[in-house]
Every structure is written in C-alpha cells, then in structure tokens.
Amino acid sequence: MGESSASAIRAPKQAKQAVPEHVVGASEEQIIYANILNISMKLGLAGIISSFLLYVSGVVAPRIPVHEISRFWGMKSHEYMVQTNISGGWSWLGLYGYGDFLNFFPIAFLAGITIVCYLAIIPTLLRKKDTVYAVLAMVEVLVLVAAASGLISTGGH
C-alpha cells in the first residue's frame, strides 16, 4: 500500500462527508438486483443439472441420439443445423419433448436472468428520480431482448 492508497483511505465520517449520497454497502436497487439474481441463479443451475440427467440417462429420449452427436460437433453451427434439420432462434421451444432440447430451457433461463433483474430495478430508479440510470437500464433491457429475440443474426458461413 503506497502513498496513493493511504490517501484513498479515510475515516468513515470523512468519507460520508465527501460523498453524502452514499452509504457503506449496497444501494436499494443493488439489493433488489442481488436478491432476484440469487434465487434465479439457483433455480437455473438446478434446472440445468436436472435436465442434463434426464437427457443422458435416457429418461427423455433425445432428438439426436447421444452416440451420434460426435458426428456433428465438428461442423460450423450453421452446417450443424442444416444437417440435423434444426431451425435457429426459438424453435427449440417446440422440441421440449426431446432430452437434448430440454436442456435449452434452463440455459435460456440462465441467459434471461439479467433481463429480469434489470426490469426489477427500473421502478426503484424511477421512484428515486434517477432518470439517467432508469433510461440506461431500459436501453440495456432493449439490447438484451434484441439479442435474445433472434432478430439479430448472421448469415452463417
């Protein structure tokens, strides 16, 4: 710890005087975000383990047999979809009866948690009249929804 670090450490009282709008620890919206993230993350991880066990145990039969999957994983994703006759985007929703595609549900859930967390903090930010951050949060939601929607895509190669 050098001179710079020493100068950065101040007594609590001084710190609060310097930045009166802050309290030590997390803000209200940060706690809201953390609580939703905590529950959702645990649900998602439990889901991912459960669906994978159902898949590899054969309890739910896969669309692509497990012993054939190695024929496809060396292909580009675009070619893989063509060869296995799978559509992109959210088409996996209709394939819930297959063990391999059952895994897409908890994975998509994990990938969707952030959107829910952002949506949850927007009302708090608005109530605190933190308009800039409320707008930033809304734009982030739009960006993530656009990515998740499947509307943004590449032509494949």
Binding site: R10, Y33, L37, I49, G74, L144, G155
Partner: protein
Amino acid sequence: MRRGLTMSLFALLIFTLLALAAGPVLASTEATTEGAKASGLIWWAWPVILFGITFVMGIFAVLAGVGGGVLFTPIIGGFFPFNMDFVRAAGLLVALSGALAAGPGLLKKGMADLRLAIPIALIASSGAIVGAMIGLALPDNIVQISLGVAILGIVAIMLKAKKSEFPDVPKADNLSTALRISGIYHETSTGQDINWKIHRTPQGLFTFIFIGVMAGMFGLGAGWANVPVLNLMMGAPLKVSVATSKFLLSITDTSAAWIYINQGALIPMIVVPSVIGIMLGSFIGVKLLAKTKPAMIKNIVIILLGFSGIRAILKGFGI
C-alpha cells in the same frame, strides 16, 4: 514453499495427463468443416473427459485469479474436436454461470457496484453482440488465428499489468461526477471504510467497446481486460474492480450467449458438463486458495495459455 511447488506440479501433471489422454482420441475426431466422423469413444466418455478437464480448469482459474472462460475457450478449442462455434458458446455460458453464481454475494457486500457497472455493461454488451456476430460469420481458421493472437496478448497483459489496490484518483472526471459513480466499501482487512471515485470515464467506456467485441467474438469472458481497465485506467480500487468485473460478465456474456444460442451453436453435451465442472472446480479452488502459492499457479496458467495460444494459431494455419 516446497509443498506449494509440489501441489502446483501435481495439479499441472493431472491437467496435462487429462489433456494427453484425451488428445489421441480427440485427434481422431479432428473437426472438419465438411462433415464429421463419429468418435471412436463411447459417447459418455466425452462428457466425463470434459467434466474432468473443466473441473481441474475451475481449480486453476480460481488459484490464478482468472475467469473460467479465458481458460476454457483456448484449451478446449485447441485440444478438442469441437467446432469453435460450439466452444465459444460454451465458453460464454461457462463465464456467465460463474458470474451469475458470484453476483449476488458481490452485490450484497457492496463490492460489485451497480452504478459503475450499468453504463459499462450497456457498452460492453452491445459490443459483445457485434463480436458474436463477427465470430459466427468468420471462417474457422481466421477465428483460430485471431483467438491465438488474442490469447498471447492476454498472456502479455497477465505478465506485465500491475495492480493498484487503491489507485490515486485526485479528482473525479465530469462524466463520473454527473453519473454519480463513486462509493464507499468496508475493507474488512483494515476495518476501514474506503471512499472511492473514478476518473478517465470516457476513455474507459470507449475501451469497453473493444473488450465487449472480443468477449463476444472469442467467447472468452472478459475479466482479463475488465480488471486492468477498471483498476488502472479508471482508478477503481482493486477489490471493487475485481468484483464489478465478475458481475459485468453476467451482463456482457448474456448478450453474446443469446446470439450463439439463436444461431444453433449450443450442444448440451458440451455445455452442461463444462459448466458443472468449472463451477465445482471453482468451489474446490476457493478451498485450496489458502494452501497454495497463487503466484506459482498463475505462472502455470500463463504457460498453459501461452501453449493454447500457439496451438490455436497453428491450428488456424492447418499445422
């Protein structure tokens, strides 16, 4: 010292043996663009090998202080027969899962700062979408060569970058002041409340465009770049930088992961054992952290990454 060296060498030996054991089999199923041969292995051996390697990787990642994604993508991409599309998607989901798991604790303790993260996340996640689209559109050999170069660059950053526990920020810049990005966190080691602010916010935000693009393009996560920028460029304390970086991955990698999922680059047989392996390995790594020499492990990881980077470049050139 001797014990730490023995443990490090033992861990490296396990890691190498796992890679070597998998190597010949993997070579027989080398990725091809025009189609693929079926593996000579019984099908369940693949998730078991992946789980084993990612488990060790998870231990190494914690001990070396790097994210899982930066190890996963070059090593699995370099030594496994999977197409890079699937490897990068899995790498992003590995990094995402780790970030989601760590996020609640970091946010509640006030170590990760939501106010600092929100503007950065917006820029980095937009960049990651662009990066993912570029990565999916490029031919495999170009991605491999670019990944190799990027990994060697990361090795250079890991070797050269200094860290500053409490950077000197004489005056907050106008943008961070307008956005009220500053805070106080309780430093348990000294029992003091640390009052922090940041500077060079416009430069930092601009840099996150490129970090986001690279994260999405290579499926690397981005902790290796987030921390130096937050800490050294923008002046956030090291603990806040590390925690906010980890939390940022949960947002940045989400956007890129969706692009890969929607493009069909998701094979659960690759993703799920990797996610579980890395996470369990990370738990063990945290327990081992007190008993090992992090500097030595970090050197091993740097060597491994160096080999992976060279391997990726060679693979890209068809060597």
